[in-house]
Symmetry: C2
Subunit: 468 residues, 2 copies
């Protein structure tokens, strides 16, 4: 061995030792991080499962305030209640963000009847949110279609002056009901304008549910200013089947529809915001939120008192366990999600104007049933960080991380933050009650609500401690 | 290169080619198998989700037959109904297996009251299954314990003549409620004999639930022939908290308990069995089953009309999709699971006597909520085969395979089959209603029931086509 060779060998050994020690140290640090994080998450769950407040709060919002449509007195009650709750938690600041919202009212209950060869049959019906009324009674023949394609294939004379009945069912073979819902949501959103485009006098939509029952499901719809406005309503699945059956026997039957809804002048509403300032990086912000409005029937317990109380509980859990997180955590209770999403839009616009540094926006609007993971839309580095944590969530059965998110309120933050994250919940029960009179407190489970709160809090805490 | 070297080289190349081709062919076969299996499972789910009958059957059993305690007329009605349903499916044979079962009856509703310093407070109470009655009224002081250890530390005089109140709560920090339940089930099972061992006059048990409400949860208990029998009953969690609070203020308070239950002479009951003979290996048997009895309150919808109708549906789905499976599939509706498990014991004993070749025994008794996978107790080769299929179950969200199973009816087959398999369901809602008057049809979801049926049918079909 030459002197040079010996020098090389020693250098090589030294480098290897340095690398090995560095790697071991990094592993130890990583392991320490994981242990610290796991312990933090365990503490969050323990607090949430033993002293959780979200189910009690859900009961209050659902049964004491009840349905709280955008622009209604109940929406204002929800705003006052949420403000009070956030102040009781002892956050660093709690404030309102003004939002002007649409004010649509249903009026007296809708009525719908089939008039067919001497028999009159009642249908279970609900106006879609935003629809015009019938201005008295609309009585017209009905043309049934099962797709846009079927509508396109009709002659104008098949449609003119008739009510177009969009009898489009969700696909029961789809395992995730949310996907089946999204696949046909356009019939509710655009049925009225597509009917009117060809001279239709109104639109009836089969309710967007796999459930076979008498509950009509409302939801938002929109008009096109260039096309005449016609009334649009949803039929329960049982009523849709009844109408379809009778149309086969008597294509000339008439449906009589009476809807008293109308759009009143816009009103002032508010997003409710509370925050806990970061101890180390106060200008870096992670938000969690749900919407405080609901449709005007039932109690809006699942949609979305669940997300509202879970978001409040999430920040309470973070405060209880971390006392002072490293980054700022902020809870937002959005107004007007159901009927315009102006709350979410206003929050994003104000945050942009203020030049805020948003790390992540988390939302809970998936129904409040058993949480199973998160849906995530994020930059690649953010994704890498988030996915590393899935093991921490595994013991809590909420480790299924899926790409692509469906939250409406946080969607406005798409280009202003590194990650949009929604809590993913089991959805088998959600669309049975979604936007119906059956969305009531007793459909919800105390454990499922508490587990969702703790999952949100854990994600909030991890991002607040590590960034993305 | 020598001639020998060339010969070696050629041999080597030839062997490599053979190995490569064989491997590719095996992979193709495996891939074909996976594709065929995936297609079969997809067909089972499609049939179950589009034309499923389990929810409709659940409604019948829960609301038309109702609670069906072992030895009751309703249990016989369930036996008749199940026989009829299996015949309608067109199985190769449907028959009854005689089982002599205990016949315990509750009698007139129980009553319990706290007598404390001039106030009388009603408690919500249910006798435990198998308990003796109070033979008039039992009025005694109460001693509260929170563990066996606390009981052991008491002096005999602290217990003698008193009612021992086992106020042992489930641990809310446990994510799987079933585990929290199993951790404290011994207080219900053995509370009466442990109280009586030290001279106690009776036992009151805090209901085995995380739910905070007024529903007492019954369930089976047993006596020791060497220890005097004393009455045992469950208090709702609200009543347990009330009693505990009052005992702190007034340790001398008395509880008055009136229970009219009694054990009558044993009765003849039956397991209902149906089978579809295997086309290729008819002597190899895979079973699927649930129990047809329930407790005598509520409707036994979750426990276990769900498992009963899912098992019937599972064999219907296998017959519809496979027409003739390779191995014999058999459905068993077990009697007397809740109060003695003699149905399961009899089935195993008869199968042993007949020298049957059992491949696997599958059970559904996990509550009938959202299925998430299977719990499996199997030989190593069987496990290897089953775990290979988890990918096939993944699109259906039921791919979580866990070692160790908790099914009572199939537990008797432990040494007679290669695999014991139970459907694992989400359990957050199960123990809110388990063994209570609140276990009713409307707590169940049509989709969850149908998804469970299809999961059972898929496992049944895979084993019937491949063996283990």
């Amino acid at each position: 061995m030459t002197y040079k060779a010996i020098t090389y060998a020693i250098s090589f050994i030294a480098i290897m030792i340095i690398l090995t020690v560095a790697k071991a140290s990094a592993q130890t640090n990583n392991q320490n991080d994981v242990n610290t994080d796991s312990l933090m998450v365990r503490k969050i769950y323990d607090e949430g499962l033993v002293h959780g407040e979200s189910y009690k709060n859900l009961q209050y919002v659902a049964t004491k305030i009840g349905a709280r449509l955008s622009g209604s007195e109940q929406e204002l009650q929800a705003i006052q209640w949420a403000t009070k709750m956030l102040k009781e938690i002892g956050l660093d600041s709690v404030y309102l963000q003004k939002v002007v919202v649409p004010h649509w009212v249903r009026g007296a209950a809708e009525e719908a009847r089939i008039h067919s060869s001497n028999s009159i049959i009642k249908l279970d019906v609900l106006a879609l949110g935003g629809s015009i009324g019938t201005n008295g009674t609309l009585k017209a023949k009905v043309v049934e279609v099962r797709s846009w394609k079927e509508l396109a294939q009709l002659k104008d004379s098949d449609i003119k002056g008739k009510i177009v009945f969009f009898n489009v069912a969700l696909d029961p073979r789809e395992i995730e009901v949310f996907k089946a819902y999204l696949a046909v949501i356009e019939y509710r959103a655009s049925g009225a304008k597509e009917a009117a485009r060809w001279g239709g006098a109104g639109a009836l939509i089969r309710s967007l549910t796999l459930s076979q029952d008498d509950y009509p499901h409302t939801g938002t719809m929109s008009y096109d200013e260039k096309i005449p406005k016609v009334p649009a309503a949803a039929l329960s699945t049982n009523s849709a089947d009844k109408l379809s059956d009778l149309l086969k026997k008597d294509p000339e039957l008439m449906v009589e529809l009476k809807m008293n809804c109308e759009t009143l002048p816009e009103r002032v509403s508010y997003n409710v915001i509370g925050e806990l300032h970061g101890g180390k990086y106060p200008d870096e912000i992670i938000t969690v939120g749900g919407h405080l409005d609901s449709w005007d029937i039932g109690q809006g317990a699942s949609d979305n008192a669940s997300g509202m109380v879970q978001s409040i509980e999430a920040i309470r859990l973070v405060k209880t366990v971390l006392v002072r997180p490293e980054r700022t955590v902020r809870v937002i209770l959005y107004c007007n999600e159901e009927h315009g999403s102006r709350g979410g839009a206003m929050y994003a616009a104000q945050s942009k104007l203020a030049g805020e540094k948003n790390i992540a926006a988390i939302e809970s609007d998936g129904g409040g049933f058993m949480p199973n993971g998160f849906r995530i839309d994020a930059t690649q580095p953010a994704k890498n960080n988030i996915w590393k944590w899935s093991g921490i969530f595994k013991p809590y059965r909420v480790s299924e991380f899926v790409e692509g998110q469906w939250g409406v309120d946080i969607s406005h933050m798409k280009h202003q933050t590194q990650a949009l994250i929604t809590l993913n919940c089991d959805d088998q029960r959600f669309f049975d009650i979604h936007h119906t009179a059956a969305d009531t407190f007793e459909k919800m489970s105390p454990r499922e609500i508490a587990l969702g709160s703790a999952a949100l809090a854990s994600m909030l805490a991890l991002i607040s401690q590590h960034g993305l």
